[in-house]
Structure formats: C-alpha cells, structure tokens
C-alpha cells in the first residue's frame, strides 16, 4: 500500500467501523508503520474521532425543553378540536339532506297515493257530516269498480242524473299507483239497485295525513277507489292474509286542493 491508497481509508481506519477488509487493514497498518506522514494523518484522524466521541457524549443527554412538548400537546388538542368542528357540520349537512330527501319522497308518494286518477263530478250532497261542502260545490260520489258500473253508496243520496254525468279523467297521466287501482268509469253504466248498495258495509272515515276531514270549507269530493287489501293494515284494521292479494273498495274523501283527507273501506 502507498500513501495515495491509504488516505481514503484513513478515516475508516480511525473510526474502526469494521467495514474494512482484514487484508486492507493489515496492509494499511504496515504502511503506517513505514510512512511517518500517513502515521500523522492516522493520529489526527483518531484524535478527531475521539473528539467527536467526546462532543457526542457531552450532548447525549440534551433534550428539548418541556415548553416544546406543552406547545405540541396544545397544538394537537387544537387540531383535534378543529377537525371535530370541521366534520360535525358536514355530518349535519348529510343528515339534513337525507331527512329532506325522505320527506320529499314521502310527500310525493303520499300525493300519488292520495289522489285518485279518475273522478266524476256529481251534484249529490256531501255524504256525512264530516264533509261540509257548500251548496252547489258539488261533493261528488264516484263508484269505480272493475266491472265499471257506477253505484251509489248507502251513505249518499244517489243523483238522479248520475248515469248522464260525463266521466272525466282529471289526471290521465297519473293513472299508475301501486296502492290505488282506479278503473275507468263508464259514463253510461246503469245505476245499481238500492238493494245492492244497501248491502255495503263501510267503516268509519279514517283521517289521512295531518289534515282534518272537518276542514273542508271549500268543498270536497268522495271518490270510490279500489285498493289492495293489505292497505287495511296501514290503517290498523284487521287483515286476512289469505285474501291479501285481493282488492278492496274504499271511499276517499278528497279536499278541494286535491289532497286526501279521509278514507273508509267498503265491503
């Protein structure tokens, strides 16, 4: 080994890092023993290593002041608080949006369910005391059946010219409904005998929604519709599950605003 080869490894030799090949180390030691300049270099490197060791040892126990930890913990708490504040309104926003969407969907479904698809104006008076329609407003009674004939119910006074009243489809585009099955009204259908109508048994009117059936100052209409039988369960009425697939007749009391106010089921 010569001086040129020794200089690059002098630091490693002084640091005694153990990275050096044993043969190289022994060659370097032989060279140091023969070259006074390289021996001085090695001594200087060893002294420097020792000085580094002393400096490192002296600073070994140095720690950051406790203020730093206090400030960090305070910052951590503040960050956590900010994060919670930032996330809470977002959560509320989602909740409010979800509730609004549910209300909107419920309102739309209720509107579809409450509005009959076919109504026929009738000049007969309001059926019961529940409907206080003004004179001439024309509380209507429409009976819709699968067979199509218009029948009068025992609660209503049949109109004399009912069979001449033209059938009018008020909302032809809204004929679809999974809860209401409306059938076309046959305007020329004959009026059934009173004896058949008297055989019908109806429940009391059950309010629909939050509106009262008594607030019909502007008049109203009674609409006969057919519903799936399981609709009875919605109003807390007993349901025969064996006949759940069948339809059942119902009279829906519709206000002037087109919203259903009450319903009764007819057997």
């Amino acid at each position: 080994m010569n001086c040129e080869l020794f200089q690059p490894i002098a630091a490693d030799l002084a640091r005694n890092q153990g990275l050096m090949d044993a043969a190289v180390r022994s060659a370097a030691e032989v060279h140091v023993s023969e070259c006074e300049g390289c021996a001085q270099t090695l001594i200087a490197q060893k002294d420097l290593t020792e000085a580094f060791g002393n400096l490192g040892h002296e600073m070994q126990d140095l720690q950051a002041p406790t203020d730093v930890e206090i400030r960090l913990v305070a910052a951590f708490r503040k960050q956590a608080a900010v994060a919670s504040v930032a996330t809470t309104p977002r959560r509320w926003r989602y909740a409010i949006g979800a509730v609004a969407a549910m209300l909107l969907a419920a309102f739309v479904l209720w509107g579809f369910w409450a509005r009959p698809t076919t109504v026929t104006p009738d000049s007969s008076p309001a059926p019961q005391a529940a409907v206080k329609a003004p004179a001439g407003s024309g509380s209507d009674v429409v009976k819709q059946t699968n067979s199509g004939p218009i029948v009068s119910t025992p609660d209503f006074q049949p109109a004399t010219n009912r069979n001449q009243a033209p059938a009018r489809r008020r909302h032809p585009g809204k004929a679809r409904s999974d809860s209401i099955v409306a059938t076309p009204v046959l305007a020329a259908a004959p009026v059934l005998p009173t004896t058949d109508a008297e055989r019908e048994v109806a429940t009391d009117f059950v309010p629909v929604g939050y509106g009262s059936a008594l607030d019909l100052q502007d008049g109203g209409q009674l609409v006969r519709v057919e519903l799936p039988r399981f609709a009875l369960a919605r109003f807390g009425l007993p349901l025969n599950m064996d006949r759940a697939d069948e339809d059942i007749k119902a009279d829906v009391l519709v206000g002037a605003d087109g919203l259903a106010r009450a319903i009764r089921f007819v057997k």
Binding site: L48, A51, L72, F76, R77
Partner: protein, 205 residues
C-alpha cells in the same frame, strides 16, 4: 406473567393520528432527543433547535400518513423532516457560525489545541467547543454526515437512509468533511502558536 411490550413507533404514530394524545406524548418523549440534538448540532442554536423539533412533530401530526415503514424506521423519517426544516430555516436565516469568527474568542479552537500536538489534545474537554464550532463551519452537506455518523453515531447505511442517498455518497462526504475539519483546525493551531510567541515577547519586553 406476560411482560407488556412497549408499542412500536409505528403503532404510536397510528394511535396519534387517530387522536390519541398519550401516543403523541410517548412518541415525542421517545424521539425528541435525537431530533433536538440533530437540530442543535446542525445549527448551533438552541432556539432554532427547539423550533425545528416542534416543527418536526407538527409536521408528523399533519402528514404522518405519508410515513412508509418499508422505507425505514420512524426515527429516520423524523430526522429527514428535521433536515428539510433545517435547510429551509438555514437558507432563510443564513445561519452560519464561522470558525474564523470565533478563533480569537475565549472558547476558540486555537486556544483549546495544544501547540506541540494539537490534534492529540482534541480529546480533552476543552476542545469540545472548538470541534463543535468547526463542525458548524462545514458546508451543510458535509455537516449532515458528520452530525449523523460521528455525533449521532449512525452507520453509513442509516445515514444514507436519513439523507436519501447512497452509502458511498455518505462515505465520501464524511471523508471529505473530516479532511476539511482537520484542515480548519490546523491553521487555528498555527495562529495560536504565533499568538503565544507574541505574548512571550511582550512579557520579556
């Protein structure tokens, strides 16, 4: 009885990121020393070292998710952040401590090095301040490897992990840094030797 195992740095980090304040405290107490000493040895300023230590752990709180345990221990990650913060701070503040500026001071290297065998006396306690200032006078890229390999006693591989460079780069930079340090200390020794002659002449006068 089963011995309770201390949580690893990664586990503490995850807990801290999940909002566990005690995990932050534990992790800080475990790792703040090396970060603080690295910053202090790099800058020579306790105030700056405090700020850097705080900035490092603040950065860990903000972006601790970017730590990848496959790339090395968390200690390396923290030292890497400290290095970047220091570079920014030193670049802004031009925080340099020149060995020449302090050569005539009471704690200068020249005064701490013996005349006959200057480097042989470096091991004495009085030389520590001189060596510290000599280290501070090094360019940053050399100072980093000296601080990491010599003062923090990391291996070449560990220092390379912190610095994000090859082991050979660390080795060559350290060799160069040591040569610079020896070169910086020798002129000071010669000046000190000359000053001693002047003092002696005055005494005889």
């Amino acid at each position: 009885m089963k011995e309770q195992k201390d949580p690893s740095d990664s586990e503490l980090l995850q807990a801290m990121l999940a909002g566990d304040e005690s995990a932050l405290a534990t992790l800080y107490r475990r790792r703040q020393g090396s970060v603080y000493r690295f910053a202090l040895q790099m800058s020579g300023s306790t105030a700056l070292a405090e700020d850097v230590t705080q900035d490092v752990f603040m950065a860990l709180m903000r972006s601790g998710n970017s730590y990848d345990s496959d790339r090395g221990p968390l200690a390396w990650f923290l030292l890497g952040i400290a290095r970047n913060v220091l570079r920014q701070r030193l670049g802004r503040e031009r925080f340099y401590t020149s060995l020449a500026d302090d050569a005539g001071g009471s704690s200068g290297a020249s005064e701490l090095v013996s005349v006959s065998d200057p480097l042989g006396e470096l091991s004495r306690n009085e030389t520590i301040e001189g060596v510290r200032k000599a280290v501070l006078s090094l360019p940053t890229r050399y100072r980093e490897v000296v601080v990491l390999c010599e003062l923090q006693e990391l291996s070449y591989a560990e220092a390379a992990g912190v610095l994000g460079c090859a082991i050979g780069t660390v080795r060559s930079r350290l060799h160069r840094a040591r040569g610079l340090l020896i070169g910086k200390l020798r002129p000071a020794i010669q000046e000190d030797e000359a000053a001693d002659h002047v003092k002696a002449a005055r005494c005889f006068a």
